[in-house]
Amino acid sequence: MAYRAHVIISGDPQQAQPVTVALLDEIGLLGLSNEIEVLAATDLTVATPSIEAIVYPDGVHYRDLTPDNARLVATEHLLKGRPVQNLMVQEQAVEPLDEPSTKEVRVVLRNVGVINPESIDDYIAQDGYAALGKVLTEMTPDGVLAELKTSALRGRGGAGFPAWMKWTFARNAPGDQKYVVCNGDEGDPGAFMNRRVLEGDPHSVLEGMAIAAYVIGATQGYLYVRAEYPIAIRTLRVAIEQAREYGLLGKDIFGTGFCFDLEVRMGAGAFVCGEETALMESVQGNRGQPRTRPPFPATSGLWGKPTNINNVETYANVPQILLNGGAWFAAMGTEKSKGTKTFAIAGKVKRTGLIEVPLGITVREIVYDVGGGVLNDKAFKAVQTGGPLGGCIPEKHLDMPVDYESLASVGSAMGSGGFIVMDEETCMVDMARFFMEFAQEESCGKCVPCRVGTRKMLDILEAICAGKGKPGDIEALETLGRSVKIGSLCGLGQGAPNPVLSMIENFREEYEAHIYDKRCPAKVCRALIEYKIDPETCIGCTRCARNCPVNAITGIARQPHVIDPEICIRCGICAQVCPVNAVSVE
């Protein structure tokens, strides 16, 4: 069918979906379904993080689309032929940004945004399932392991354990039934790399899992994906169905007699389920609480059977390694950390979004070359990697290479790929309190060091932020932190003190300022700051007084206004609405 016009919607799929649905609905209501085709492009260049659309053949470019104004575009532009001026991209309105960095190398993300994720043919056209075919028809399991060993691929879930060793343990473990599991419970705040792989190139993960199954001798696999990723789950289910139809999953794959099938399991909202043994408990229908290790999953995993578990990114690397050879993969990266890694850049940086870079790239290159630098050109303070279980990298380590060992050596961690940039306006005590609150809430409660230790650490941090810190608090945090790390059962408790410990190590003076001077240098902690209106600058427009939620601001129109510090709750709305920047923080 020939269409009169095409609308290409781009942007993050989770945000774009309601816009697409609204647009399709309106097009249907207007009776234009046979004339206009709506296509989705999962654009990765997120220079302007909004939902955008281009209408062809006109070439009109819309931005900041919501379901409501998508309907407007349908009635005005698509039906009546009148482009909606105020939604169009204005040249001067777009912040000029440099070209995307050439320092990126896409292996895992090579198909994301390029192919239609719901078409197995698209994936096959990009050499999809060629690696599985090669493995099943030409290679022995030991041959695959040798290639993986050459590649030196390490687990991308954070711990960095060599994939070939994990697979070997599961292969050598005795057992009539074995399982392959993919950890898609990407719960680290600020990390959404795996979501985009699952949404954009699901077959690469299925293929990697099938290869792992062949190597260890498994016939059944489970993909555990958090329920917060509905589009990833839908895409995966479509992909599995298509792979079954093509005989790439199921019985007698490629006519070799090899059988392997997959099932998607959804989480129900528990961060700790990203821990491998907790995940398996959840798959079995239990509370997601970690098990004591050993035994490790390779010998006793799902239902006590030998199980290989890797994360999404690890599996997605496997087909590429087997097609191009382990040596090709090992040519990228550093001596001990090979290949590429995806990161989700967020926080105070100009270009937020998803990137893939060779390991060994410096922190500076990621922040400034790939990320475009600190937002509003403020001063760089630190980067948090490894999420709530990682640590911060201060300015003095900006030129440090990003690899497993270097990050660990400064008290941080690779983690799954969160990369949160913090600037001079970020308070390191507040951040530590924040991460500890997260860990405390997500602690499953099974072991005492984590359950009680995180609570005690949080209490101290909350007191410091509230201006009630006392001498000895910093030392208490350090002692407690070490105990929680040593004593906890799983990675959550062992990692929970990391943000606090690394922030104390690198920004001790900020902690001291809070405790001894009752001062928050970044002007964030409410109890230690005060909002003031400069009477010289204030024009008496009354806007702040009208917007103040607690009526703490008084003054007559066209006269300088005053904030009552006793009533003020330090919400900062007055500073946001002031047209002349007369409100300052002290």
Partner: protein, 161 residues
């Protein structure tokens, strides 16, 4: 009540009356009914041949499963670090103020529930919140007021706002 239990039975039939499917069954029943009642948990326990205490222990573990009835609209605000760094605190307070309820609560008229969510992976456009199943990003206090007003307006459409 009979309807609710019939729905519960239907969901169990789809997944099979296996302990293995417990998390999926609980999540789906919760999704359809808005929350999990004691009667529903009892039905699930008897169908799966599990003690009620086991069903309760699993149901109470996961944050997406609610044991209390929620409001007509559910706001889930992302409380994680990337959203916090870019001004989440102000948005958080604006939400409490706008809806007149603290976090974790449901308004007395049953219209709104204000909850937090773990990271929904939309960090590039933080601060982020979900209202029912819609994701709203790049929030600030002003935008929060507008969005909430829009959901309120929908219900009053036709009337005088």
């Amino acid at each position: 009540m009979e309807d609710v239990l019939a729905t519960t039975d239907g969901i169990i039939d789809v997944h099979g009356a296996d302990q293995e499917a417990l998390v999926e069954i609980l999540r789906e029943v919760n999704e359809v009914s808005g929350h999990l009642s004691r009667e529903q948990m009892q039905r699930i326990a008897s169908r799966l041949s599990l003690p009620l205490s086991k069903v309760y222990s699993v149901a109470s573990f996961y944050s997406l499963i609610s044991l209390e009835p929620l409001g007509k609209h559910v706001v889930r605000f992302c409380q994680d670090a990337p959203c916090h760094v870019v001004g989440g605190q102000q948005v958080w307070e604006a939400l409490e103020h706008e809806l007149g309820i603290p976090f974790g609560a449901t308004s007395l008229d049953g219209e709104w529930s204000l909850l937090t969510t773990s990271c929904i992976g939309a960090c590039a456009v933080g601060p982020v919140m979900m209202v029912d199943s819609d994701i709203h990003g790049n929030l600030d206090p002003q935008k929060v007021r507008e969005i909430i007003a829009r959901y309120r307006g929908e219900e009053r459409s036709g009337g005088i706002v």
